[in-house]
Symmetry: C2
Subunit: 217 residues, 2 copies
DNA sequence: ATTAAAATTTAGACAAATCTAAAAATTTGT
DNA sequence: ACAAATTTTTAGATTTGTCTAAATTTTAAT
């Protein structure tokens, strides 16, 4: 597969082309900063290769093979992002551009070894789940507040530390199961988070954030 | 710079295009498994960009800018090779193909961080020197026997461990300054080496190999 | 020194990926 | 339902990097 083909597949996946819903050429063109006519050309080519279903004038959706391909690319992208942050001290906002390049490196052994080196992470630095080698997404029903993307939001669904002291703290700040939490900013110095619950903003330490589970969407 | 352009520059460097000697289009075509006419086309393009000097019917040589560019690519290639071997347990014969891809990743920060992660290595897994960020080759006058490519040969020029016990060992096996050593094979299990001195073969441990300096060429 | 052989360049073509402009199909508004 | 607006496709052109075949230049041989 060429780099251009891979980028199309990835974009279509992100636009929802995996849900057997048809994605318009216009939407793809806009997302990729290209022209609809270019998308049409590529759509035909990728349909020919059985990577997507193309219905003239309607749009495209990924085939099973297309979804598998997309997941493989996304897996690589996100693993490289983790690598850049954890091993090379990149900040979370610097990684995307480089990962866009690294995701196209062709070597199954390489990405599996990177995965191993990172101890098989489940989320990338933005909190997005990393597909497994078999193309399955890691469970996403709960994740630590400290692992969430910034900015983002989620609903509080549990705690890791169940000590009275911790729960009392939560009570005091009106944090409870079912409450929606907006993560606004992370302080680079100590990883403390500025969050918003209801219409109140507060600053919580990393120790708190690593003990609170939230669920996204 | 495109990937194709970078590959031409790198190949011309390896063919000796840095020594202001003209490299023939034929030689380049053969090395790159392409046609001389393609090389001519690219030569014009790269000369236009001031990366090489092109004399019709004579050949090409790299300009200062071309040499700088070549060294940057070679630096990336060799650093990635070290990374693959030291951090991801690739064997020395598996790294080339992947490094061919990784050398084209565009991010100065990335390669500098990789360099740092590896503690600024001077040689790649094949024993070839890694150019510095400023485009200088590391000194190559001596290197540990354990850092030599396999197979290869060099002349014994020094020892690191100067203990009597070690020197006695060397004497016993007729290893002395000035003797040529052929490295034949490395045992993956314990990194011991099978070497040949004169017309005698022997097996030496990694501990010996990490204490013997040899000079190549 | 002339000619034969080899190397190199030119000219023209092609595939990939893109574009513009025009044509066709679909959607929307009343 | 039908015209207008929007979306999508087609047709033809462009750029990059490559090729083949023919023409040109250089090198080698006698």
């Amino acid at each position: 597969m060429t780099r251009a083909e891979e980028n199309y597949i990835k974009t279509i996946f992100h636009l929802g082309g995996n849900q057997s819903q048809l994605i318009s050429t216009n939407a793809i063109a806009e997302q990729m900063a290209t022209k609809p006519s270019s998308v049409t050309d590529m759509a035909k080519k990728l349909a020919e290769k059985d990577l997507l279903n193309y219905v003239r004038y309607q749009g495209v959706s990924l085939t099973d093979l297309g979804i598998k391909t997309a997941l493989s690319i996304i897996r690589k992208h996100r693993l490289w992002e983790v690598f850049l942050v954890k091993k090379l001290d990149f900040s979370w906002d610097e990684v995307h551009e480089v990962a866009e390049q690294l995701e196209h490196i062709k070597s199954e052994k390489l990405i599996d070894k990177i995965d191993e080196l990172l101890d098989f992470p489940k989320y990338d630095p933005h909190g997005d789940p990393i597909p497994t080698k078999n193309g399955e997404f890691s469970e996403r029903d709960k994740q630590l507040l400290s692992e969430m993307p910034i900015p983002s939001s989620g609903v509080c669904v549990g705690v890791k530390d169940t000590s009275a002291a911790f729960l009392k703290f939560l009570d005091k700040h009106h944090i409870a199961l079912g409450h929606e939490i907006h993560i606004l900013e992370k302080e680079a110095f100590d990883d403390s988070l500025r969050i918003k619950i209801g219409d109140k903003e507060l600053q919580i330490s990393n120790q708190i954030a690593t003990n609170l589970y939230v669920k996204v969407e």
